[in-house]
C-alpha cells in the first residue's frame, strides 16, 4: 500500500466548520477538518458532520479568521 501523501501533512490547512439547524438559529462552530483545498474540505466537512439535519453548513479557512482577542487576553 502506498504511503507518504504530502498533501495530508505539508499542504493541508485547517478549516472551521459552521452549521445551523433552523433559519432562526445563528451559525455556530461544530468542528474542523484538515484538507489541502476547499473542495476536499467541503467533502470532508459534509462526511464528518452530516449526522444531524443541518439546514446550512459553511466552512472557512482558520487562517482567515481575524481574532480580536483570544482566551487569556481579555
Amino acid at each position: 500500500m502506498s504511503t507518504g501523501y504530502k498533501r495530508v501533512s505539508g499542504d493541508a490547512v485547517e478549516y472551521e466548520v459552521f452549521a445551523r439547524k433552523a433559519r432562526v438559529d445563528p451559525l455556530h462552530l461544530v468542528g474542523s477538518v484538515v484538507a489541502p483545498d476547499a473542495d476536499l474540505a467541503m467533502a470532508y466537512a459534509r462526511a464528518t458532520y452530516d449526522e444531524e439535519r443541518w439546514c446550512e453548513m459553511a466552512i472557512v479557512r482558520k487562517d482567515d479568521v481575524i481574532r480580536l482577542w483570544s482566551p487569556g487576553e481579555t
Binding site: M1, V8, A35, P36, D37, D39, L40, Y44, A47
Partner: protein
C-alpha cells in the same frame, strides 16, 4: 437490452463501489479521508437500494436466479472484481467511475421515465461531494495505471456509440447518449480521456464490460449473507438447519 438492464447495472455497480469504498474506511491516508470513504460507501449502498427499488416499477425485473450462485451474473465492472490494494485505485474509481455513474443517473433524471426522474434526483445532491472529493485527490496526481483502467471501464460502461444507451437517448428515456456522456465526464474532470481502445466485439451488454471474471469469493459470499452465517454461533446454525 432495456432501461431496466441499465438500471440494474447501475445498482450492482453502486453496490460494489460502496463496498469497496467502505473497505478503505480505516486505510485512507488521513482520518478525514477515512470518514469520507465510510460516508461515500454508505451513500452508494443507499443509492443501490433505491436503484434496485426502481426495477419493479420499470416492468420486467432483469435479475436472474443465477445471481444467487454465480458471481459472474452480478453486473459490476471488472474494476470492482477485487478489493483495491492502492489508494490510487480508490481515487480513480472515486473521480472517474463514480462520476460516470452520476452522469448516467443525471441522464435518467433528465429523461422521460417518471420513476427515474423522481427517485434518482436526491442522489445527485449527495454525489456532488463524492465528485469534489474525487476531483481534488485526482488533481494531486495518481498512478497512471489505475487512471487509464478507470477511464477504459467508464467508456465501456457508457456503451458503444450506436448501442442501447444511444437508442434509449433517441427514444427520450435518457437525456444524453454515450458520446455526450464522455464529453461531460471530460469537462467535469477538466481533462481528456487517455487514448484507450475498447474492443466492442468482446463487450458484454448486460455487464457493460469487455473483461471476463467476477467479484472475489469473499465479497460474493458477503453479498449473499454466507460470510455472516460462517461467523454465527453453533446454536444459531442448529436453529437455522
Amino acid at each position: 437490452m432495456s432501461l431496466s438492464d441499465l438500471v440494474l447495472s447501475l445498482a450492482d455497480n453502486k453496490q460494489m463501489l460502496g463496498l469497496r469504498y467502505a473497505e478503505w474506511a480505516t486505510r485512507a491516508p488521513s482520518l478525514e479521508a477515512d470518514i469520507a470513504a465510510a460516508a461515500m460507501g454508505l451513500d452508494d449502498l443507499g443509492h443501490s437500494r433505491v436503484l434496485y427499488g426502481c426495477l419493479e416499477p420499470l416492468g420486467a425485473d432483469p435479475r436472474e436466479p443465477e445471481r444467487e450462485s454465480d458471481a459472474g451474473a452480478i453486473r459490476n465492472l471488472a474494476y470492482f472484481d477485487e478489493p483495491w490494494t492502492e489508494w490510487s485505485q480508490f481515487v480513480a474509481a472515486n473521480a472517474i467511475l463514480d462520476t460516470s455513474f452520476t452522469l448516467m443517473i443525471e441522464s435518467c433524471v433528465g429523461g422521460s421515465v417518471e420513476v427515474l426522474r423522481h427517485r434518482l434526483r436526491k442522489m445527485l445532491m449527495e454525489e456532488r461531494y463524492h465528485f469534489l472529493h474525487g476531483r481534488s485527490w485526482l488533481r494531486s496526481g495518481i498512478d497512471n495505471t489505475a487512471l487509464v483502467r478507470a477511464w477504459q471501464e467508464a467508456l465501456e460502461f457508457f456503451g458503444p456509440p450506436d448501442g442501447e444507451v444511444e437508442q434509449l437517448h433517441r427514444e427520450g428515456k435518457l437525456a444524453v447518449g454515450p458520446a455526450e456522456l464522455r464529453t461531460r465526464l471530460e469537462e467535469q474532470l477538466e481533462t481528456k480521456a487517455p487514448k484507450v481502445t475498447v474492443h466492442w466485439n468482446l463487450w458484454d451488454p448486460k455487464r457493460r464490460r469487455t473483461a471476463e471474471g467476477a467479484i472475489d469469493e469473499h465479497t460474493f459470499g458477503m453479498l449473499r449473507g454466507l460470510e455472516e452465517k460462517k461467523y454465527a454461533p453453533p446454536t444459531a446454525k442448529q436453529a437455522a438447519s
